[in-house]
């Protein structure tokens, strides 16, 4: 088979324009396919990192928009397998104006570094943050975006909390994920609220002792509050993040149907090209047969050429998709999974695999027909 590689190369390069157009067409479609598969992979197939795998989120069973009593935290902490619990309150305040959206999370400063050990911050900044009620820390990406420096004042206007915050930036942290979040002390919100609205928070972050404890703790928390007026729903951090995706609609179905449409389009494009080039070369097939090429070899040569062209398209597609992914990262504020979207190896392999398969499938019928044609008929062909 590989003996005929030079012939396949020559053949594919004979109609340069067509080959290039086919490669471009397949490449562009596969770039999209790779991009969508990367999103799918990030949402549904990727494993959480070692820190995230130990974390759970407990929220009100009804909705994220309905709060939980703060004293639940103490009770969750006492469950076996729980190492630490901290409140997590989305503030949703307005910085400058409504277009400047970023995550502002009220937490317990003394606990956040235990629960999120992947956060690294200089020791004196950490101390300053824990010691001061109006202090806040920001992720490096966020601080760079707004050109904040330690000591800056940050004013957030409350939306669903009737409280405006005057925060002082006491530290800038680095973290592998979620490095665009502003953390501050939940007590600060609490003090600004009227007495009858105090004592409620959005969610709890729960840190388990080990990954084995995670499913047990999830169940134990929900069981504990089953008969209370505020039932909980506890799930892993990644499942919690996915619930936001689910909120946008049936994203899974959306992604899969577009992927299917794309694969089918590529199949059509490639099939069309192969059919065109085989049709033009029927006479040549006759010549090859006269020279003693067997039916199998001819089939192999035509299939090989199609697969080769598709593979080049596939590689181009993966390359383009890696660029597209960089763009997508910038647009992802709320979806943590997309902030570090990459074309991982399985996705790239899948893309190239699909390309090869498309080449094979699309070329099979024209190649088979060409290989079966009789010499006399082939030589007489006028095309």
């Amino acid at each position: 088979m590989f003996r005929h590689l030079p012939l396949m190369l020559k053949n594919s390069w004979r109609n340069r324009r067509r080959t290039i157009l086919t490669i471009l067409s397949i490449g562009v479609s596969l770039c999209l396919l790779g991009f969508l598969m990367a999103i799918y992979h990030a949402f549904y197939l990727s494993k959480p990192d070692q820190y995230s795998a130990l974390r759970m989120v407990a929220r009100n069973r009804v909705s994220l928009a309905v709060p939980l009593p703060q004293y639940y935290g103490e009770r969750i902490k006492q469950l076996p397998g729980v190492r630490e619990v901290s409140v997590n309150q989305w503030f949703g305040g307005i910085y400058i104006d409504e277009k400047h959206l970023f995550a502002q999370i009220a937490t317990e400063p003394s606990k956040i570094f235990l629960i999120r050990p992947e956060i690294s911050i200089p020791a004196e900044q950490k101390k300053a943050f824990i010691g001061e009620r109006t202090a806040c820390i920001a992720g490096r990406a966020l601080a760079e975006k707004y050109n904040w420096h330690v000591g800056d004042r940050i004013t957030l206007k409350g939306t669903f909390f009737p409280v405006d915050l005057e925060l002082t930036l006491r530290g800038i942290y680095d973290a592998p994920i979620a490095d665009d979040v502003l953390y501050f002390d939940q007590e600060y919100i609490e003090q600004g609220l009227p007495a009858d609205q105090r004592g409620f928070i959005g969610t709890f972050d729960i840190l388990a002792n080990s990954t084995d404890d995670v499913p047990r703790v999830e169940k134990a928390v929900d069981d504990m509050f089953r008969n209370s007026p505020y039932q909980t729903k506890t799930e892993t951090e990644s499942a919690f993040a996915l619930s936001f995706v689910a909120f946008l609609g049936n994203v899974k179905f959306f992604l899969l149907s577009i992927c299917a449409a794309l694969t089918f389009t590529i199949l059509l494009v490639s099939g069309n090209t192969v059919a065109m080039s085989v049709r033009e070369r029927v006479r040549e097939v006759g010549v090859l047969k006269t020279l003693g090429f067997t039916r199998g070899t001819i089939l192999g040569i035509i299939l090989g050429e199609a697969v080769m062209v598709c593979l080049v398209g596939g590689i181009l597609g993966v390359g383009l998709a890696s660029l597209l992914v960089l763009l997508a990262r910038k647009g992802a504020i709320f979806l943590q999974q997309l902030q570090h979207l990459t074309i991982v190896l399985p996705v790239a392999a899948m893309c190239i695999g699909i390309a090869a398969m498309v080449g094979l499938v699309s070329a099979f019928v024209p190649a088979y027909n060409a290989s079966r044609i009789s010499i006399v008929e082939a030589l007489r062909s006028e095309d």
Binding site: R17, R18, L21, T22, L24, S25, I26, V28, S29, C31, L32, L36, R61, V62, S63, L64, A65, V66, G92, I94, E98, K157, G158, T159, F160, P162, D196, Q197, P229, S243, A246, F247, L248, G249, N250, F254, I258, A261, L262, F264, T265, I266, L268, V269, G271, N272, T273, A275, M276, G331
Partner: protein, 388 residues
């Protein structure tokens, strides 16, 4: 002189396999675009159909949605008698104090449940919503744990049916009626008695918002200004129409992803169309030579091949439209981040959307056909005739 169109039609028919394959590539591209547009269009028309131009929605200052707003009964008394508020049949001002909260209902395709808005209101609130009609059953009685649900909820959630019970707040609520509000977002809401709902959620004095009806549109604008500038009240007033129009932004993620996908697919399909047209030009070299000998100019050759490419793509566009037509009318829902609940709407493949799809296909065919047509027009007569 122009080459007759039948020449192009016949050519497309002669090479039917290639024509169909290329057209299908275009069709899938168009179908993806149209499906997304039908979704976004459906959501927009649902939200735009909501809200009466005379209605003014009053929220706590700083709150950007009803869900996060707090409104006390005392504040309600203060604004109820403002100038410009219309009077109802009984002479009472048309002002409705309302409580909006979110519940979670389990559905067939979402076992974890989907959030829906529940609105507590008094009879005057129902009187004010003029396009609201009762499809079956009756309105809830005051002081009872009864709800009336929007039509599209009943369609999508097996649990939410007349006579069944929904569990939320501190107990079960009986579904006593089914309401319809045309295309509007109210179809995705559940209505209940204000006092019963607020005591269930222990929010007897912390309600959400007030809806006012102005006597005319001038009064509505004046009312908005008057309320906004009143420092003592500390409220934000907005025309109900504007409030719902702002929520169309929740379709933005799907819309932008969908448009990105269709544009990239279009680039791929344009290359494929180009391929097909180049092959057509190459095969018909002799024909082109003959046409030139017959006296057709380079310009008419260019126009003819260009037209053929556009026709090919338009055929694809038509197939694409046929592919998405079955989607029209299907009910679906999308999460709305300002209400933290689901807005259901019908996908709408409107004539406008179909035209957009066709125009998209034609543009794609034009992009793919220009270079091959140029190539055909440039052929020298003798060389073209001699080519095999």
């Amino acid at each position: 002189m122009a080459i007759p169109l039948t020449y192009n039609f016949r050519n497309l028919i002669v090479r039917k396999t290639t024509t169909i394959m290329t057209a299908f590539g275009v069709a899938l591209t168009v179908a993806v675009l149209l499906a997304v547009l039908a979704m976004v269009g459906g959501l927009k028309s649902a939200l735009e159909a909501t809200g009466d131009p005379l209605h003014v929605l009053v929220l706590r200052k700083g709150a950007n949605s009803e869900l996060v707003s707090n409104f006390s009964r005392e504040g309600f008394q203060d604004i109820k008698f403002k100038a410009g508020v219309a009077r109802g049949k009984s002479g009472e001002p048309l002002a409705s104090l309302e409580l909006v909260t979110v519940i979670n209902l389990v559905s067939v395709d979402a076992p974890d449940g989907i959030n829906l808005s529940v609105r507590g209101l008094s009879p005057v609130g129902i009187e004010m919503r003029k396009d609201l009609t009762l499809v079956s059953g009756r309105w809830f009685d005051t002081g009872k744990r009864e709800v009336v649900i929007g039509e599209s909820i009943a369609k999508r959630f097996p649990d939410a049916q007349l006579g069944k019970k929904l569990h939320f707040g501190t107990g079960d609520w009986e579904v006593v009626g089914l309401m319809s509000a045309g295309q509007s977002a109210t179809n995705s809401e559940i209505f209940a008695d204000l006092n019963q709902l607020s005591s269930d959620y222990r929010r007897s004095d912390v309600l959400s918002s007030t809806l006012l009806e102005a006597t005319d549109s001038v009064a509505a604008d004046a009312l908005v200004k008057n309320l906004d500038s009143d420092q003592r009240l500390n409220v934000d007033a907005i025309l109900e129409k504007d409030y719902y129009n702002k929520q169309t932004s929740s379709a933005l993620p799907i819309e932008s992803l969908g448009i990105l996908v269709s544009v990239i697919m279009a680039v791929g399909s344009a290359f494929a169309a180009m391929n097909t047209m180049y092959a057509a030009v190459a095969r018909r070299s002799k024909e082109i030579g003959t046409l030139r000998v017959l006296g057709f100019s380079r310009g008419s050759i260019l126009a003819s091949f260009f037209t053929e490419s556009v026709l090919l793509a338009a055929l694809g566009g038509l197939i694409g439209i046929v592919l998405v037509l079955p989607l029209s009318g299907a009910t679906t829902g999308i999460g709305n981040f300002s209400t933290f609940s689901e807005t259901s709407f019908k996908l709408r493949v409107t004539p406008g959307i179909m035209l957009t799809g066709l125009a998209f296909a034609v543009a794609l065919g034009a992009a793919g056909g220009l270079l091959p047509a140029w190539n055909a027009a440039r052929k020298e007569v003798l060389a073209a005739l001699r080519q095999v």
